[in-house]
């Protein structure tokens, strides 16, 4: 049945029309944003904050202190992290008493589903960000799985200021997405999960994280 479906559909699409013409209008060339480094950081912060993300722009050597301060103010049952990433190594080295336990994501989801759905917080790196619309680029990998930024109620993301691009198109281009091949999953994330399905009332924290905290490292 399906083998025929393919051929039938394609042959119908290939049939030469008996009348009329289908034209493709010329694509206008639209100049993208061209902001300075500072402007990009500023715009990204502003756009993310509008979407209720909490953004901290901090010096690279100070961010761990800020993270610890943030975590100490919360009663969290754990912080999910990816031990095989550079970020994971930094966290392990810096961890101390009084902070929520670091919980490594090292087993396949089939073995740790329960804990993934009950842990309060997760921390991930990012591959970059988009200033124009305000969005982080996440590039999950073997070391840093997909659910880390989804199941915990609090998602903390760490971003290098150098990796903030003007536009989505620029990020694809400059990071060579095509050349290196697309990974299993790429995500653009612009805030905590939200809905406006009841009377268009904007509400945050639906099925994904209720909070998104972004550290932009200068």
């Amino acid at each position: 049945m399906t083998a025929n479906a393919r051929e039938n559909i394609l042959s119908r699409l290939r049939a030469i029309p008996t009348h009329g013409r289908y034209t493709v209008p010329e694509a206008p060339v639209i100049a993208g944003l061209a902001l300075s480094r500072e402007e990009r950081i500023d715009r990204l912060r502003r756009m993310l904050e509008v979407m209720h993300a909490e953004v901290q722009v901090v010096a690279a050597r100070e961010w761990l202190g800020e993270l610890k301060t943030l975590l100490r103010t919360r009663a969290l049952n754990g912080l999910l992290y990816a031990p095989a990433t550079p970020l994971g190594a930094v966290l392990e080295a810096a961890w101390e008493e009084g902070l929520p336990p670091l919980v490594p994501y090292v087993e396949p989801v089939e073995q740790c589903r329960e804990s993934l759905f009950t842990i309060d917080a997760g921390i991930t790196s990012t591959r970059g960000a988009i200033a124009e619309t305000g969005a982080l680029i996440l590039w999950p990998s073997v070391a840093e799985p997909r659910l880390m930024s989804l199941t915990p109620g609090l998602h903390i993301a760490v971003l290098e200021a150098e990796a903030i691009f003007n536009t989505f198109a620029e990020a694809i281009d400059r990071q060579g997405w095509l050349e290196q091949g697309m990974p299993t999953n790429v995500l653009l994330i612009s805030g905590p999960s939200k809905t406006a399905d009841i009377e268009l009332t904007l509400t945050f924290g639906v099925h994904g994280p209720k909070e998104l905290v972004v550290f932009i490292l200068q």
Binding site: T2, P17, L187, L188, E199, G208
Partner: protein, 479 residues
């Protein structure tokens, strides 16, 4: 015959919707808000015009090479490990989905929002097979609880207000307290669905864009339920209409901007989810199997006509609904089909045939608002006019829309013939005009005249015709 039946049903639906004060109030505030948000985002009209010309160009370029792009998409997806299936009809697509579910012994399906799955009536089909298909988008979840279908393609429960939803949750969800606080209603749904995400056997989603160049499936959403459905279960099935393919990865950014901006006035949604393969070796999560079902279901018939092909440019933003004077007063259910509003009015009669859904093409004032806001410049009024003409056209050779001529009647054809004769014979026209100005007020109100004057006062006929007035003024016949 279906003809009078579908017209009668539609007229009944319209009367019912217009008489529903609650529905009218719910819609009025929601539609005004949605269009205001869009206007604010695209405040720079010149920049917007450029962007949508680009959007139109991208979509038309994709459609101009559709069969090649679909083959490329299939080839890339397959190379990435995604299993591609083709379905000519909704029934075939349902059978493909069921087959996958059966192979995995799946009984619980979690679904992200997908209009194609509505077109397939997938939930109903799976229910009959004893499989639970749970909608997880909040709006879809609400209407599924109430046994309804979406009334809007972006905000499916927009016809309901929070009081109605409060009652619904309290009555249908075990142990749910009665609350009209939106945040609390949201929390109830989150709690209910979280367990489902954790235990779902198979996730089903739609596709917003499928990139032929890389074999990537793109999904746009705010809630995170789409990510859940495509990441947490061991199997993911993505459903797409065959027109959803785009050529290049770089085609995606402008379309994404147009889609989220036109739909809800957002510069971008919370999540843009790009899926290129199932779980690869060493990865700890994500589905082991990803299936892509490419559905025709009448689309290739639309494609065959280059003029009507523009219908397939649609990226399903719903802006035409929010700005339509008909939709904003009726809501989606009155249309009686899955896709409502202007896009539904041009798409459905072509997918299902004029004899089944042709009446939808009459749901337009030809104000052109849909055309003005469409992010890919679909020529709505042109297609509507074409469909209305086809509804009366009997000649087999010239017409391609299935079910054409369904409204043709001998009486009407004869009336127009007489009208033509009257207007091409000066003597006849003169006598006729004189008769009408003398006796027009006493015309018997029957047939269409009766219907027309039911809610309107018939205007009096002028004592003199325009022709006579012009002659009095000394104007030439030629001017």
């Amino acid at each position: 015959m279906a003809k009078t039946e579908d017209v009668a049903i539609f007229e009944r639906n319209v009367a019912k919707a217009l008489g529903d004060g609650q529905l009218r109030r719910n819609l009025r505030s929601a539609m005004a808000t949605m269009s205001q948000r869009r206007r604010t985002l695209f405040a720079d009209t010149e920049a917007f015009e450029q962007l949508r010309t680009l959007g139109q160009s991208i979509r038309r370029r994709a459609l101009s090479q559709l069969p090649e792009l679909l083959e490329q998409l299939e080839q890339r997806c397959t190379a990435n490990g995604i299993q591609v299936h083709w379905a000519e009809t909704a029934a075939e697509a349902n059978a493909i989905v069921l087959d996958i579910l059966r192979r995995h012994g799946a009984t619980r399906v979690i679904k992200g929002k997908s209009m194609v799955s509505e077109e397939m009536h997938l939930n109903h089909f799976l229910e009959e097979q004893g499989i639970e298909a749970l909608e997880t988008d909040l709006g879809e979840y609400i209407i599924q609880l109430d046994g309804e279908t979406p009334s809007h393609i972006i905000v499916p429960a927009i016809h309901k207000n929070k009081d109605q939803i409060a009652h619904l949750f309290h009555e249908r969800i075990p142990d749910a307290p009665y609350t009209e606080v939106v945040e609390e209603l949201n929390a109830i749904a989150r709690g209910e669905l979280r367990e489902k995400f954790r235990t779902g056997d198979v996730g089903v989603s739609g596709v917003n864009f499928a990139v032929a160049e890389t074999g990537t499936l793109c999904l746009v959403e705010n809630e995170g339920n789409g990510r859940m459905c495509t990441t947490a279960p061991p199997v993911h099935i993505a459903l797409m209409g065959l027109e959803k393919v785009v050529e290049k990865l770089q085609d995606v950014p402008p379309l994404l901007r147009l889609l989220t901006g036109s739909a809800t006035g957002q510069p971008i949604t919370t999540y843009f989810n790009m899926i290129t393969s199932p779980r690869r070796s060493g990865e700890l999560d994500g589905p082991h199997e990803v299936h892509l079902v490419i559905l025709d279901n009448g689309r290739s018939g639309i494609y065959a006509d280059p003029e009507r092909r523009t219908t397939l440019q649609c990226i399903r933003c719903g802006a035409c609904l929010n700005h339509c004077p008909i939709y904003t007063r009726l809501g989606g259910h009155a249309y009686g089909h899955v896709y409502p509003g202007p896009i539904g009015s041009i798409l459905t009669p072509q997918l299902k045939g004029l004899d089944e859904a042709g009446v939808m093409a009459t749901a337009s004032t030809f104000c052109g608002a849909c055309e003005e806001v469409c992010p890919v410049k679909i020529p709505f009024t042109e297609i509507l006019r074409m469909l209305r003409n086809e509804a009366y056209a009997r000649d087999e050779s010239e017409h391609e829309v299935q079910g054409h001529g369904y409204r043709y009647t001998t009486v009407e054809a004869l009336s127009w013939k007489s009208w033509a004769l009257y207007n091409t014979s000066p003597a006849l026209a003169r006598i006729g005009a004189q008769m009408l100005s003398k006796f027009g007020q006493h015309l018997p109100m029957i047939g269409p005249l009766k219907e027309w004057t039911r809610v309107r006062t018939p205007p009096p006929f002028a004592p003199k015709t325009l022709h006579e007035l012009a002659q009095q003024r000394g104007l030439d016949d030629d001017r």
